[in-house]
Symmetry: C2
Subunit: 357 residues, 2 copies
């Protein structure tokens, strides 16, 4: 199989634990029964607890990748009466802008740079909005927004607060009640460290009230909510990944809960950043999440070339960027089943690389 035996530092897919992989090797069971409903309901409750979701919140399980979560949230929660403030600080923010465009949702393309929006009160356009959409961690550049400050702004202005948490859930803090978040999008292949193909949408009671009738079958939240009452989905779920999700959530709980998981990622990120301090690489943004470190070569080297060389000479996969940032940055994930020894493999490779190049 391709890339077997490689070290994985890409921000999805990420390194999975042995326990999760073993479930991938089991027969997929039949799922239209109460045994599988229990799995789904367990996952729902565990996710709601980890997010400190308000009472009455619900989870929708989509067999799809993250973009489907982003699009379906816009389709189901917003309509012609809405006006969304869309934070656009990179490729994924731009995708939300495209989605609003496509579905005819009034929106403001809120282009931001060099800020984590702790100053949103000052920066936000002075007009009336009905909702705010943000990619908590703009993965294209590794930039984390200040969810608390944005939450305060949303609360003050009574905005529906939609957070794409795809690449920060369980590595960076997200608290629906504290920060007044109404909708959260999560995917399987980031810090949940499962195979790609499962996306979850979490809706607060306020968001649930907004769910409308959509002209779409596969993304009809009302159908999912109705079936979800008994732990089922309207269409075949990603059964194997659901079983892996159940095991993964239990794993997180067993290891001390989501706070411990965040703390672990934070320590690993700090460890890595400290270790490579003397190399000619600098952080691309001061607002890095625990999930990932984005680095820019300061000695004129091409970031893309570094990515290629790490792959070819050290069997290490870090993540390149496309487009105009191709030679400027590369990304190192701290998500998944990692420890300091695993991080050292990359650290050692980088030092060796700089000694010889």
């Amino acid at each position: 199989m391709i890339y077997e035996g490689y070290y994985i530092f890409t921000p999805g897919p990420v390194k999975m634990s042995k326990e999760i992989l073993e479930i991938g090797a089991k027969q997929t069971p039949y799922f239209r029964n109460s045994e599988f409903s229990d799995v789904t309901l367990y996952c729902e409750n565990s996710l709601l607890k980890m997010l400190n979701a308000p009472k009455g919140s619900k989870v929708i399980f989509l067999t799809a990748s993250g973009t489907a979560g982003m699009e379906s949230v816009v389709m189901n929660l917003l309509d012609n009466d809405d006006n969304a403030l869309v934070v656009n600080g990179g490729g994924f923010g731009a995708r939300f802008v495209d989605i609003c465009d496509l579905h005819g949702i009034d929106h403001f393309n809120f282009k931001v740079k060099n800020t984590n929006l702790s100053d949103i009160e000052k920066l936000a356009p002075k007009q009336k909005f009905s909702s705010l959409i943000v990619n908590a961690h703009e993965t294209s550049i590794g930039h984390l927004y200040d969810l608390e400050a944005i939450g305060k702004y949303c609360k003050k202005n009574s905005l529906l607060y939609i957070v794409d948490a795809i690449s920060m859930f369980v590595t960076d803090s997200l608290n629906m009640q504290k920060d007044a978040v109404d909708a959260v999008i999560i995917s399987s292949q980031k810090a949940l460290a499962l195979p790609p193909g499962l996306t979850m949408v979490v809706l607060s009671p306020k968001a649930l009230k907004k769910v409308k009738d959509v002209k779409n079958l596969y993304f009809n939240f009302k159908d999912y909510l109705r079936n979800g009452e008994r732990g089922q989905t309207p269409y075949t779920p990603a059964v194997t990944i659901m079983l892996q999700l159940e095991a993964r959530l239990k794993q997180i709980e067993r290891e001390g809960g989501v706070e411990k998981s965040i703390e672990k990622a934070q320590k690993l990120a700090e460890y890595f950043r400290q270790k490579i301090k003397t190399l000619p690489l600098k952080a691309y943004t001061p607002f890095m999440p625990n999930a990932m470190t984005t680095l820019t070569p300061t000695d004129g080297k091409s970031a893309f070339k570094i990515v290629e060389d790490l792959e070819k000479n050290y069997k290490i996969m870090v993540c390149p960027n496309g487009g105009e940032l191709k030679d400027t940055i590369f990304r190192v994930s701290h998500m998944g089943d990692m420890d300091e020894d695993y991080v050292d493999i990359l650290v050692d490779a980088l030092f060796d690389y700089y000694e010889n190049n």
Copy 2:
């Protein structure tokens, strides 16, 4: 894990081979590179070959379940100028009717019963249509349509011919060129015997010409076709299932090709039907596919009770029906990694069951 060690005779998920399961236990590799493109392109070519697709046909890989394939085909191929003849002989036919309704596509709800449409010339309403949609195998009742006769009718009337082949591909014959099929929908968790979460849409050159601009991001075929040129997808693919698909297609080729796979399913289905001939069970439809046998108790027993007892007392999963057919039929799949010895486990259980009940 739930239902470990059970015998699986459900029409999805189905029993997977050891080779496929082992890939499920491997780390998901990074996929935005030529190595993964090669996997995708191999899968595309192999699928096109197995379908005897016309030159220039393309495959779209959706991270989604089968319904997304059904809906996206209607969204991308049909518009206000179309009038679709939708074959509705059960739950999945009805779903296509719903999809056309929802997306405002003119259609005729062609309700059929007790026919495989070999007589479509006679039965079809005498009006002008632009396309025909059929679930080749109406899985809700185990009824196979005559794709050749329908194909002749489509050809004669210049209809775009859309075939949902989800639960008959590689167990029952499907030949795009011979039967003038323009679009085919396939899913991973049926006879391809992979975990659920991957759906493929195959488009002939005639169908490709019909692909329009849709007001949807996740189901925009043009994006998939553009990215597909280099073996990529616009959004994170179901990487692990794609790698399993590659292995599975190679497995089918190694074992003699799709014809051999169909022949194997046919033999198994006949073997099972012959073996249980003396039991008080009769075929629900004379038009059974190789993929599945649908049985009705003739001694007044409840079909649902039989399903429950097989599960509880023999660790065997066959498939119940919901709704008004709940007590009338149950379904036995012949898809997946099975042989006569495996079928015997169910046969023996059924005989034992009838001796004691």
